[in-house]
């Protein structure tokens, strides 16, 4: 999807995010970090698969730009 979203995070961990409406994060299913293809100057990404409203949302955080994207939703 790659939609920019507003996320409220504490210590880097998402707690709330807004995608058409407010979602409260109920749990982190999985998280990992990728450095990106640094030789092509790609940015590192922090990836969070969060549980909210009975779905799993995959949020990507780009530390360099401080931006959050909603990458995917699994119902």
């Amino acid at each position: 999807m790659n939609k920019p979203v507003r996320v409220i995070a504490k210590n880097g961990i998402p707690e709330q995010f807004y995608y058409h409406k407010e979602y409260r994060v109920e749990g982190i299913q999985e998280q990992w970090r990728e450095s990106g293809q640094w030789w092509l100057e790609e940015s590192p990404i922090h990836i969070y698969r969060v549980i909210a409203a009975k779905s799993v949302f995959e949020l990507h955080f780009f530390p360099k730009t401080n931006q959050w994207l909603l990458y995917r939703i699994e119902d």
Binding site: W32, R33, E34, S35, W38, W39
Partner: protein, 1019 residues
């Protein structure tokens, strides 16, 4: 609180991107009181780690990450020295099974479990792999396996949170396993680099190690940059859910005691059958030897020997001397030629034991340069052996002391400029031709962080592609890996012998050469209590040995060569020393031409003078001037006269610096040697000032005027770093002079011997051939019936040996000789029929002229080989076809083919082909100019084959290139100053044949050219 217990340094070859020093400084910055080092399957960093950590007040915990059966990883920490010994034995066993992919069996773990704390390992561990596969039962089984061997108290479940996919799942599963088994959790970060920014270096090293490039996907490249030395805060964030795992790290750190016992003496007691003690036995041997060496034992000799024996006893190193004595005795019984070298030649005991051949008492050499109570370092004796038999000597040592008590010392092959450029450019997926272009012309000695410097300094690199901004990042990366070890190898001659099994202090592994090596190199091996001896190969001694039968026939011996043969000195003074050990380089020949040596002391000084240090310190000219009495030496104090008179007031030797400090400042010789070392190795201006103050204060107390004391200190300071060990120079000069004698009196035999033991010396084989020919020796061509395997000689000629043919194998050589013994070959066909020499080698033999006696038309012979070879097995008789109508190779082609195959020519020199054309251009030959005294100062042009262009350090710091031009008559040395070098750098380093114009200068009898114009001589 948190302690890092899983850290990989640069000794995890190509998998650790930070040095031990960097990690320790970072740990200090993070206020961590302890840290563990756990490299892959080695403990090479242990001594460095231990010493540096202690200096910073950080507790070093020694560990290792091993690979166990199945390829799984396991982390082991030494709880104490017993645990460290267990690690050494485990690793030795692992490498025994497979030298390239060490693997620890469960039996080995069970055998050597003492003193070990086990962390269950990273994602590549058996437990984590099972959990990731959701096989909880399997994970339990693996854990129980460890518990059965090590016990509950020694095992911890290792948790790593570096934000790889499924880490949350894995940590939860490990937690479940912990709850089920009650085995405590411990957090690590599986560190591979000190700071996150170093991740790119680590990723590139991974590419180098896995032979992939950055665009390749590989399981060892998860593109995750979280394996750095994280702070306590960061670890608290990562382990918010499992804080107990952080606490455990402290508990483990507190359990661990120092793993290494440094400073012991592990040298074995010498096996004395009669039950006497080593020192008494040594004393007896020394006095027996002294009676042989000295016609009369005067009081000074007795005093000196007693003095040395006292120090040897106090340092408890008699066994070492006896071991070395025993080795040289073995060499003598086997008639293997040897020569002790280095500072051991400062020892009269070594002289009496016939370990060295330098009379240190007669020369006034200081024992303390070699061994002293103040320095309290272990002795280190180096011995050169006939290269052919060096391994036989090593084998004797292994057999005598048992193979688990003897090993070769390792060496680390580290990244330099060329290897860094190649490996990193390949990892970045540059095309091969681009990589070759980047590496081209970068001097081999350039460090990886010195590329920008050489690009700026060397004019021949002016248009080099690395100047382009697109490679700036590549150069930064090269700098980052400068000096990183790439792989482990074998030190050329270093051996350690231990009184207890070596695996008590170091793992042993099989090197590529098939010998067992320690995991510590010469810098740290002695800290473990081991003493190194260097058993080196010297091909010069092999060449000497080959000539000895000729001397023997005349009732002479090499050892009794008189040291005052004026014919030999005359030859050296004529700069005719190509082939002479240590005295053949252009700089040495130039020195000999000016020095006019007429005694062995001049040779000793020569060996010491032509070194970067004395040249930079401007010692050469003053020495020569004063040697000829053209300048009177002056001495800052009368006490310096007796010390410096033998070198005409020039401080040439390190021993002289020691003597001066002793005489002037009243230091003991041992303290003086320590002072000398401090003066050469000082780390700051402040430290140097402190050393200076100490010297001056003591000098004043010794009755020296303050101003003079300061002047003397400044004087010796300027030379301290450049002085050469006199004992070493004396040891080398013995061989240097005697090889000069052999060249003067047995030239054909000695040149043949030198040719038989290539590669060696300063010059290539063809230069030796040219010089042999210059001395009137006939060079006989390769001949399939007359040539032996080796070069052979009689009084007037040298026959080229079959082994010189490119590509010929030892088996092929032997088959030729064996067949020839039965019946000489009658034709090429006969040769092909009766031998199984391969086609390429047959062609090479033809092109080198081996079959000229049967048919001088080499082209026609080459044309026939394919058919003859095809039919060699099927036909009873092989017959050559008639290709007589075919035109042979031209003269030039014949010469070129022969040179390509043999790397030398028996008949002509390449310059013979150019000479008619050069004569018309008034180009001189080397022969003409050597006799051209009236032309001194005039501008002349010469031409020749470029030999060994090089840029040694100079007094002025400017670049000067020296090279020799070889023509059909010999060598002409050329000096190219910086301004000319900058104009013609490309020509100098890229063309094999040059025409050089410049001023003719005469240095004694040696003609040289100071170049001002250089152009290639086209082929």
């Amino acid at each position: 609180m948190f302690i890092h217990l899983h850290v990989h340094s640069q000794y995890s070859f190509l998998d650790g991107a930070s040095s031990i020093e960097t990690y320790l400084k970072k740990a200090a910055e993070l206020e961590m009181p302890a840290i563990a080092l756990t490299d892959h399957n080695n403990v090479s960093g242990a001594v460095e780690f231990y010493k540096q950590a202690n200096e910073l007040g950080i507790k070093p915990i020694q560990g290792v990450e091993i690979t166990i059966e199945g390829g799984f990883h396991l982390t082991l920490l030494a709880e104490n020295n017993r645990g460290y010994q267990s690690i050494c034995k485990i690793l030795t066993d692992a490498y025994r099974l497979s030298k390239n992919s060490p693997s620890v069996s469960w039996d080995t773990l069970a055998s050597y479990k003492e003193g070990l704390i086990v962390l269950t390992g990273c994602r590549n561990s058996a437990i984590c792999q099972a959990l990731l596969r959701k096989n909880f039962e399997r994970a339990k089984t693996e854990l129980y396996r460890l518990l059965e061997i090590f016990g509950k108290k020694q095992v911890y479940l290792e948790m790593i949170n570096t934000f790889l996919p499924r880490t949350t799942f894995l940590l939860d599963a490990l937690y479940e396993l912990h709850k089920y088994t009650d085995i405590p959790l411990v957090a690590t970060n599986n560190v591979h680099y000190a700071v996150q920014e170093n991740y790119t270096i680590h990723d590139l090293l991974t590419c180098v190690r896995t032979k992939t490039n950055v665009d390749d996907i590989h399981p060892e490249r998860p593109l995750n940059s979280e394996n750095y030395l994280t702070s306590i805060d960061e670890m608290q964030r990562r382990f918010k859910r499992y804080p107990q795992a952080l606490e455990t790290t402290l508990e483990i750190a507190e359990r661990c005691e120092p793993a290494l016992n440094l400073g012991k003496n592990l040298f074995p007691k010498f096996d004395l059958k009669d039950g006497s003690d080593s020192h008494s036995f040594l004393r007896n041997l020394v006095w027996q030897g002294a009676k042989k060496r000295y016609s009369k034992l005067t009081q000074p000799i007795i005093n000196r020997l007693e003095h040395e024996l006292r120090i040897i006893a106090k340092l408890d190193v008699a066994d070492y001397f006896l071991a070395v004595w025993d080795i040289v005795q073995f060499a003598k019984t086997k008639q293997i030629r040897y020569a002790g070298r280095g500072s051991a030649a400062d020892s009269a005991v070594a002289y009496c034991l016939e370990i060295t051949n330098v009379d240190s008492i007669g020369r006034g050499l200081l024992f303390e340069r070699f061994l002293s109570l103040e320095r309290a370092q272990k002795p280190d004796i180096d011995i050169d052996f006939d290269a052919r038999h060096r391994d036989e000597i090593a084998h004797y040592v292994y057999k005598k002391y048992r193979k688990d008590h003897v090993a070769s010392v390792c060496t680390f092959s580290t990244f330099h400029a060329r290897s860094a450029l190649r490996d990193l450019a390949k990892a970045l997926d540059y095309p091969q031709d681009v990589i070759e272009g980047l590496v081209k012309n970068i001097p081999g000695y350039t460090p990886a962080d010195g590329i920008e410097d050489v690009l700026k300094r060397l004019p021949e690199l002016k248009g080099h592609p690395l100047h382009s901004p697109r490679y700036k990042y590549l150069l930064t990366l090269c700098t980052a890996i400068n000096g990183f070890p790439r792989h482990i190898g074998t030190h050329l001659g270093g051996l350690v012998i231990s009184g207890e099994p070596l695996t008590n202090v170091t793992p042993l592994q099989l090197s590529a050469k098939g010998v067992y090596i320690t995991q510590f190199d010469k810098r740290t091996i002695e800290d473990l209590g081991l003493i190194k001896l260097d058993l080196l190969s010297l091909r010069t001694l092999s060449a000497v040995k080959e000539v000895e039968p000729v001397l023997k026939q005349q009732g002479k011996s090499y050892d009794d060569i008189p040291l005052d043969d004026q014919d030999t000195y005359q030859m050296l003074n004529n700069a005719s020393s190509v082939g002479v050990f240590q005295l053949e380089s252009p700089a040495q020949r130039s020195l000999q031409a000016r020095l006019h040596a007429d005694n062995i002391e001049d040779i000793v000084a020569s060996v010491a003078l032509i070194r970067p240090g004395p040249i930079k310190a401007d010692m050469v000219e003053p020495f020569i001037t004063r040697r000829h009495g053209l300048e009177t030496p002056t001495y800052l104090h009368p006490k310096l006269k007796s010390i410096l008179a033998k070198t005409y007031g020039v401080v040439l030797y390190q021993e002289q610096v020691i003597e001066i400090a002793t005489e002037i400042a009243g230091f003991t010789p041992g303290e003086s040697d320590r002072l000398r070392r401090a003066m050469t190795n000082y780390r700051s201006q402040k430290e140097l000032e402190r050393i200076g103050e100490q010297f001056v204060t003591k000098a004043i107390a010794n009755g020296i005027e303050p101003k003079v004391a300061k002047e003397i200190f400044a004087y010796i300071l300027s030379y301290a770093g450049y002085g050469f060990c006199e004992a070493h120079a004396a040891a080398f000069s013995d061989t240097a002079y005697k090889t000069a004698y052999l060249i003067r009196h047995y030239p054909s035999y000695f040149f043949a011997a030198l040719l038989n033991h290539q590669p060696m010396g300063f010059y290539p084989p063809n230069t030796l051939i040219v010089h042999a020919r210059q001395r009137g020796i006939k060079i006989l061509p390769l001949d399939i019936l007359a040539s032996e395997i080796d070069f052979t000689a009689d009084e007037n000629s040298i026959r080229i040996g079959l082994k010189q043919v490119r590509g010929i194998t030892a088996d092929e050589l032997q088959s030729i000789i064996d067949e020839r013994k039965i019946r000489p070959f009658s034709s090429l066909a006969d040769f092909i029929k009766r031998t199984s020499v391969n086609k390429d080698v047959i062609d090479n033999l033809i092109l080198a002229g081996a079959f000229d006696r049967f048919n001088n038309n080499r082209r026609s012979l080459v044309w026939q080989t394919a058919t003859l070879i095809k039919n060699r097995k099927n036909s009873l008789f092989l017959e050559e076809s008639d290709f007589s109508g075919i035109e042979d190779f031209s003269d030039w082609e014949r010469w070129l083919n022969e040179y390509r195959v043999l790397q030398l020519s028996s008949s002509k020199h390449i310059m013979d082909f150019y000479r008619p054309y050069l004569e018309k251009q008034n180009v001189y030959t080397s022969k003409e100019l050597q006799k051209a005294t009236p032309m001194e100062g005039k501008r002349v042009t010469v031409a020749g084959l470029v030999i060994r262009p090089h840029r040694p350090p100079t007094r002025s710091g400017k670049t000067v290139v020296f090279l020799s031009l070889e023509d059909e008559y010999g060598l002409l040395d050329v000096t190219i100053f910086e301004n000319v070098y900058r104009r013609f750098s490309k020509e100098i380093f890229n063309f094999p044949l040059l025409k050089v114009t410049g001023k003719l200068a005469l240095q004694g009898k040696l003609a040289t050219i100071i170049a001002d114009y250089i152009q290639p001589l086209s082929t």
